[in-house]
């Protein structure tokens, strides 16, 4: 499974990569902001995207909206410090499938990823 991590913090990307590795996912790619991610998704065709909100050049929400114009299927999890309910709703309306608020424990991130993938699998089975 191909996964794309979008976050301007290298540290955050490393933590997410380590959590994914513990879950058995090693085909992990990175982008440092929304613009960088948009330039990569076409060729990469990831199966899952983890995206931060606050990033330079292009923030996460803008990326999500842009990406969802041509791709409604790829699951996306927003991993961000934005914790207010209105923000969460905004992100979900834009097209994210799940939401993780920083700071998070590795277990929580792991749980959200598993949840998202499991939900996707169920949807695909019933489709």
């Amino acid at each position: 499974m191909k996964i794309l991590l979008i976050d301007d913090s290298k540290t955050m990307r490393n933590i997410q990569r380590a959590v994914l590795s513990q879950l058995g996912h090693t085909d992990v790619h990175e982008a440092c902001d929304g613009q960088d991610a948009l330039s990569k998704v076409g060729a990469l065709k990831p199966d899952l995207i983890l995206v931060d909100w606050n990033m330079p050049n292009m923030d996460g929400l803008t990326f999500v909206k842009s990406f969802r114009q041509t791709n409604k299927a790829t699951p996306m999890i927003m991993v961000t410090t934005e914790a207010e309910k209105s923000r969460v709703i905004e992100a979900i309306k834009a097209g994210v499938n799940n939401y993780v608020v920083k700071p998070f424990t590795p277990d929580l991130l792991s749980q959200r990823i598993s949840e998202t993938l499991s939900r996707l699998q169920t949807q695909q089975q019933h489709a």
Partner: protein, 500 residues
């Protein structure tokens, strides 16, 4: 050489082997006296076959003739071609083996290009798959022809007469490879790889150091400063001097080893010998000695079965019980016997136990810092949120290291428990000056203790002594000074700590 006897100014001579036809021109003649046609006829009469070359050579001879010469001039006008006989097929040993070059990593390389003569060996030892040599196919010959045009047949080539044993394989390209590791046995009739090496004499300068993957039999002994490395089993007929011996399997020394404290022997399985003096010994399984172990440092992976032998001086660490005849001497030579220990496993346990506090300390610091951050701020900045996430990640990772360490320690302790037994049986006497390390204690006899006796550890961890003649038992402390010691791990305490 036969020649014509008539009065012509020339003679035609054919050699006895009919390989040359020579024209001899008499001296003092004019060149015109020599008629090429007549010469040709004379050659024809002698049976020499015609060719344009022959005519040209006659003309050359006449042109080269010196009329003023005093002696006859001889010119070879027809030359036969000898047959080129075929070359028989043959086996050629690989150059490196033939020159007995030691392997690259065994050569002593230095700027001064010094050579370690111990490495020079006449033994051709090969690994499985190694090239041993090449079979050269017979090379065909070519017939010759004499001056009369008669065919001279060339000899036919014969294939190689070497018989290749199934232990070597001849490829379609003629390359011969060893099918198994061993020593090359080669003479003009046979090539084989013997997986057992038998040395009729000593391991010395005639053999060089020996490094053999299979079984080795040394009929005599091993000289000073040589190395004998054996992958299989080893048997040595005579004395092993101050050498280094390493054996993958078991070793049987019909005499013993006089190491003068400069030598070592390590054996994967059982080691048997009559005596060992000044040797570092490592027996993976049992050590069986007939007579004496003196001033040696010994490690035994299983049992010490030396019920007729004396141990004097040095130290012995034995995992699973020792049976000896006598320990120490009248002269109170310091001798140590350590019972029920597996040094390598205990070292591993020590190291694991030692790193644990550092990890626990780090975990405590991370928890403190996390709590500080969580208490100090109501609303986190993005940077603080990231720092918290990072701390939580590091905490999870660091805490996660403790469990595998505990499991590894527990497994090692269980293995030590299963494979060790602190027991010592002595038939004759334990002299003063001996120290016996058993359980948490070091026991030193206050006086010579006569056997037959058995020293063992009760379930409660108390050292006990049983007089085997009467069967009575008493605490070892009644006849020995018992000192609690921390030189070795307190395995009982560790088991209690890590059992949870």
């Amino acid at each position: 050489m036969s020649g014509s006897q008539d009065a012509t100014p020339f003679q035609v001579m054919v050699s006895a082997d009919r390989m040359t036809a020579t024209l001899s021109l008499a001296p003092g003649q004019a060149r015109e006296a020599f008629d090429p046609g007549v010469i040709e006829l004379a050659l024809d009469e002698r049976g020499v076959s015609r060719s344009s070359d022959r005519s040209a050579r006659i003309a050359e001879a006449i042109a080269a003739y010196d009329p003023t010469g005093q002696e006859p001039s001889a010119f070879v006008v027809v030359q036969g071609r000898p047959p080129r006989h075929a070359v028989d097929g043959r086996f050629e040993l690989d150059a490196a083996l033939a020159h007995h070059e030691p392997p690259d990593d065994a050569r002593v390389a230095s700027e001064k290009a010094t050579v370690d003569h111990h490495q020079r060996s006449r033994l051709m030892i090969v690994k499985a798959g190694q090239v041993v040599g090449v079979v050269h196919a017979p090379q065909p010959g070519e017939d010759g022809v004499d001056v009369t045009g008669k065919n001279l047949a060339a000899k036919q080539g014969r294939p190689s007469v070497v018989n290749f044993d199934p232990s070597v394989k001849v490829g379609s390209d003629g390359v011969v490879r060893a099918e198994r590791p061993g020593v090359v046995e080669f003479d003009e009739h046979r090539l084989a790889i013997n997986s057992k090496l038998e040395l009729p004499g000593y391991v010395d300068f005639s053999t060089g150091n020996v490094d053999f993957p299979g079984d080795v039999l040394v009929r005599k002994g091993v000289r000073d400063c040589f190395e004998l490395i054996v992958g299989g089993e080893l048997e040595i007929g005579d004395l092993v001097e101050s050498a280094v011996v390493r054996v993958g399997g078991s070793a049987l020394l019909h005499r013993g080893m006089a190491g003068r404290e400069k030598s070592s022997i390590s054996v994967g399985k059982d080691l048997t010998g009559k005596f060992f003096d000044g040797v570092t010994i490592d027996a993976g399984r049992d050590l069986i000695v007939g007579k004496e172990i003196s001033h040696c440092h010994v490690r035994v992976g299983r049992r010490m079965r030396c019920e007729h032998a004396t141990v004097v001086g040095g130290s012995v660490i034995v995992a699973h019980g020792a049976e000896l005849n006598q320990i120490g001497s009248d002269g109170r030579v310091a001798t140590e016997i350590v019972l029920g220990r597996i040094a390598e496993l205990e070292k591993l346990v020590s190291e694991l136990v030692a790193i644990r506090p550092a990890i626990e300390d780090r975990v405590a610091k991370l928890k403190d810092r996390l709590e500080q951050l969580q208490r100090a701020t109501v609303k986190l900045t993005a940077q603080q949120a990231e720092e918290l996430t990072e701390l939580q990640f590091e905490l999870a990772t660091t805490e996660g290291k403790i469990k595998p360490i505990d499991q590894a320690v527990w497994q090692a302790l269980c293995r030590i428990g299963r494979h060790t037994e602190a027991s010592l049986t002595v038939q004759r006497v334990v002299h003063c000056g001996v120290k016996v390390w058993i359980g948490k204690y070091c026991a030193e006899p206050r006086a010579d203790v006569k056997g037959p006796l058995k020293i063992w550890l009760s379930e409660a961890g108390e050292p006990m002594l049983t007089a085997l003649s009467s069967g009575t038992s008493q605490p070892l402390s009644t006849i020995c000074k018992l000192t609690p010691e921390s030189r070795y791990l307190d395995l009982a305490a560790l088991r209690e700590r890590f059992a949870a």
